[in-house]
């Protein structure tokens, strides 16, 4: 028989971006351990509505850990304490009866709060728009098997491409830096043969855009711990290498033109 938990929740409530927010405490009995964390919040919201209090706004969609919509600070940790797990895949069996759980939105200057636990993460899209792609007109592509890619290279690119763009790395970072996100996007493409033509232009444009919005990386490594896809900070080192080379190469090319 599954356990039932009685919890106390401290939830960040903020009516809109420019309003003052505060932590509100809720008594939450009768929570099945088989529920996901978001299903627990669904129940809390049903109860709030019945009592005439506006439900807690939170972001979610696929509830399978892949769309990257959900994310909240759970007891100070991005997506909670279970490693490699997005909030929607966190289940209540990881909690104990009587636990006090504090739930807050991502905290970062680049992610302003929209309402309650919902933040605006559009700065991440700006980084991709700056160069996170390979230019290929629909229909212009060569035969797919023309360029064999060694499996280890394909695997390394894939490990970076697994990023779901949730923003946990930024939220976990004491500097609100976006190096892990940016390096995952850069290195996915920079490692592949198809990505070579735009390699140095890409890294320079993406890093420079990142710096307009986010803080600086000081190698805390909190991002890697928080990442629901367990993306390695090694990609930051690879990105930094490419960025330094780019600053040199891109200048040289300019002087030749």
């Amino acid at each position: 028989m599954s356990r039932t938990l009685h919890l106390t929740l401290n939830v960040w409530r903020q009516s809109q971006d420019d309003a003052q927010g505060r932590l509100v405490t809720y008594d939450v009995p009768d929570i099945s351990e088989d529920m996901s964390f978001l299903e627990m919040l669904d129940i809390v919201n049903d109860r709030l509505l019945a009592e005439g209090e506006e439900p807690i706004a939170f972001e979610h969609d696929c509830r399978e850990g892949i769309c990257g919509s959900c994310g909240m600070m759970i007891n100070g940790q991005a997506h909670g304490s279970q490693r490699g797990t997005a909030t929607c895949q966190l289940h209540m069996r990881k909690f104990q009866d009587g636990d006090v759980i504090t739930v807050e939105p991502w905290r970062a200057a680049a992610f302003p709060v929209v309402k309650d636990l919902v933040v605006n993460r559009s700065a991440l899209d700006r980084i991709v728009e700056a160069g996170g792609y390979i230019t290929v007109t629909a229909g212009a592509a060569p035969e797919a098997n023309l360029t064999p890619i060694p499996k280890p290279v394909a695997d390394a690119a894939f490990d970076a491409a697994a990023c779901i763009g949730c923003g946990a790395c930024v939220a976990a970072c004491p500097n609100s830096a976006a190096q892990l996100f940016t390096s995952a996007k850069v290195m996915h493409l920079n490692l592949l043969p198809q990505g070579q033509a735009e390699r140095y232009a890409r890294v320079e444009a993406m890093v420079d855009t990142m710096e307009e919005f986010f803080g600086s990386c000081t190698n805390h490594g909190e991002c890697q711990e928080a990442c629901p896809k367990e993306i390695s900070i090694d990609y930051i080192a690879l990105m930094n290498r490419d960025y330094i080379k780019a600053k040199f190469k891109n200048r040289k090319l300019l002087s030749q033109s």
């Binding site: 009516s15 809109q16 099945s32 088989d34 996901s36 299903e39 669904d42 129940i43 919201n45 049903d46 509505l49 019945a50 439900p55 706004a57 969609d61 696929c62 509830r63 399978e64 850990g65 892949i66 769309c67 990257g68 490699g84 895949q89 289940h91 929209v114 309402k115 605006n120 993460r121 559009s122 899209d125 991709v128 728009e129 700056a130 160069g131 996170g132 792609y133 390979i134 230019t135 290929v136 629909a138 229909g139 060569p142 035969e143 797919a144 098997n145 064999p148 890619i149 499996k151 394909a154 690119a157 894939f158 491409a161 697994a162 779901i164 763009g165 996915h188 592949l192 198809q194 990505g195």
Partner: protein, 641 residues
Amino acid sequence: MSDVILDGKVPSGPIEGRWDQHKFDMKLVAPHNRRRFKVIVIGTGLAGGAAAATLGELGYDVHCFTFHDSPRRAHSIAAQGGINAAKNYKGDGDSIFRLFYDTVKGGDFRAREGNVYRLAQLSVDIIDQCVAQGVPFAREYGGLLDNRSFGGAQVSRTFYARGQTGQQLLLGAYQALAQQIGNGTVTMYPRSEMLELVVKDGRACGIVARHLHTGEVKSYSAHAVVLATGGYGNVFYLSTNAKASNATAIWRAHRKGALFANPCFTQIHPTCIPASDDFQSKLTLMSESLRNDGRVWVPMNSDDTRSADQIPEAERDYFLERRYPAFGNLVPRDVASRAIKVEVDKGRGVGPLKNGAYLDFSESMARLGEDTIRERYDNLFQMYERITGEDPYRLPMRIYPAVHYVMGGLWVDYELQSTIPGCFVAGEANFSDHGANRLGASALMQGLSDGYFVLPYTVPNYLSGMLGEAAVPADDPVFTAAEAEVRERTNRFMATKGTRSVDHFHRELGKIMWDNCGMERSQQSLEKALSEIPALREEFEKDLRILGTEDSLNQSLEKAGRVADFFELAALMCRDALHREESCGGHFRVEHQTNEGEALRDDDNFAYAAAWEYAPPGSEPVLHKEPLSFEYVHLAQRSYK
């Protein structure tokens, strides 16, 4: 009921050359004229993202809308298993014709041959395109692309990216779109939900959208509108669809005159994690690819309480292998789902609620080694473990069918144009290519084919006739009227001030639909649903409670609009299921089955696509029929034995 005949405008001539000939016959827009044409694209999944990116790349003035916070989050992202393409890289007898043949047969002969052939042709271009974009498909040690098998096929033609194929393909489309946004050819409107299609003089001329953060209701005009807004499986409440997936955009277009085709064709996916309790908010799919290495079974004895690993071989019933020796565990989804339901209904279900069958990897792990299985499926195994608390490396998974995909959608012709000129529909939102049952790994193929390779030819063909015409201004009375409709609906929801949440009504509607219009339908069950839906709807209109305001982020208000549309759609689904007196693919009428319990089609009377014309609640929708003819794949009882 009248029988209005619809023409899909499929070109004539040998099927192999139809698309090429048609591409030549369609009119072009010269590069310098393209920026004069405004095109709205709703939705940023595979179909919408690819269409917006490609039309932007061609030079059109594209305006793209999503209700998500970013164009990278659409539900395409959750597709796990793979994408089909007739590359024949495995040298095992695949060809464009075979993919076409498998898809028409898999769809139980209720799809349009011309469209399916084009899809099979374009499948090879999709793989080239995606690899060039940097999509990290699985590779063999020699560096070439790997393939695996999927249901309904005896060849290996499925390209995959671990268990995250949809994510990687969507990121490819998103990146292409991001490039166009960065270049300024596409204007992106995130957090904007389309709530009306606007039509003037019979042609689509724009939309009304609500900004989800500010509640601002605004008109956007264009020369053409593309709807790529996905499927409506969430009408069942519990489904594998993302929570926000909905029918509102296509239903709004339907209300404005776009015919809705085959609404009852619902795909129930055989391998999902069984529901564990009433609080369940959604069901989670376990990829069909698992059936490559997993064997489906139930205990012979329905009273068996031993754990799976304690039940000896001789006391297990591998019922798919027993009933369908040729395809075994890889029969198509509709066939597998019904077979599992039969066993569970017999009382042979497994798990605490006896509501599932085992999907067992022990034999594969013994044969291939645990590492190989880990390499192929580890992310799926981990997801299963997180949700159920059970380790599938030690005990078999428990699975049960769940609503996953809808083959029905807005009716479109060969050019993907709906019955409203200027309104195009792509991806799961249209009805075009999968007939009564979609084969695994074909949804991604269709979305990308529509977006990258079909709409970029057919939309310009429509636009070319409008050269020199300005778009209808966004302050035209048709827009003002549409905005007023949106505001009126919003105000009505806010003013109801009842006692129940939107989710309560959605859950109740889902129960009605699952019990009466789910895996099995009968005249009796469908009539029951048709009497229960209006009653529940009436209650919804009286007793809905929404707190907060309409001019800020209000997730209950968003859901209310979507659920209101689900009510009308649910009734149409039941009506369609009731009129289709045959069983085919995902539509199983208990009155129409063979002695062995297989679906029994009636080709003499039902070889057509049923396209419904909107009628307000209380009146009868009008049926239009598009007759289907099969020149290349001969009509036959499907057999996977």
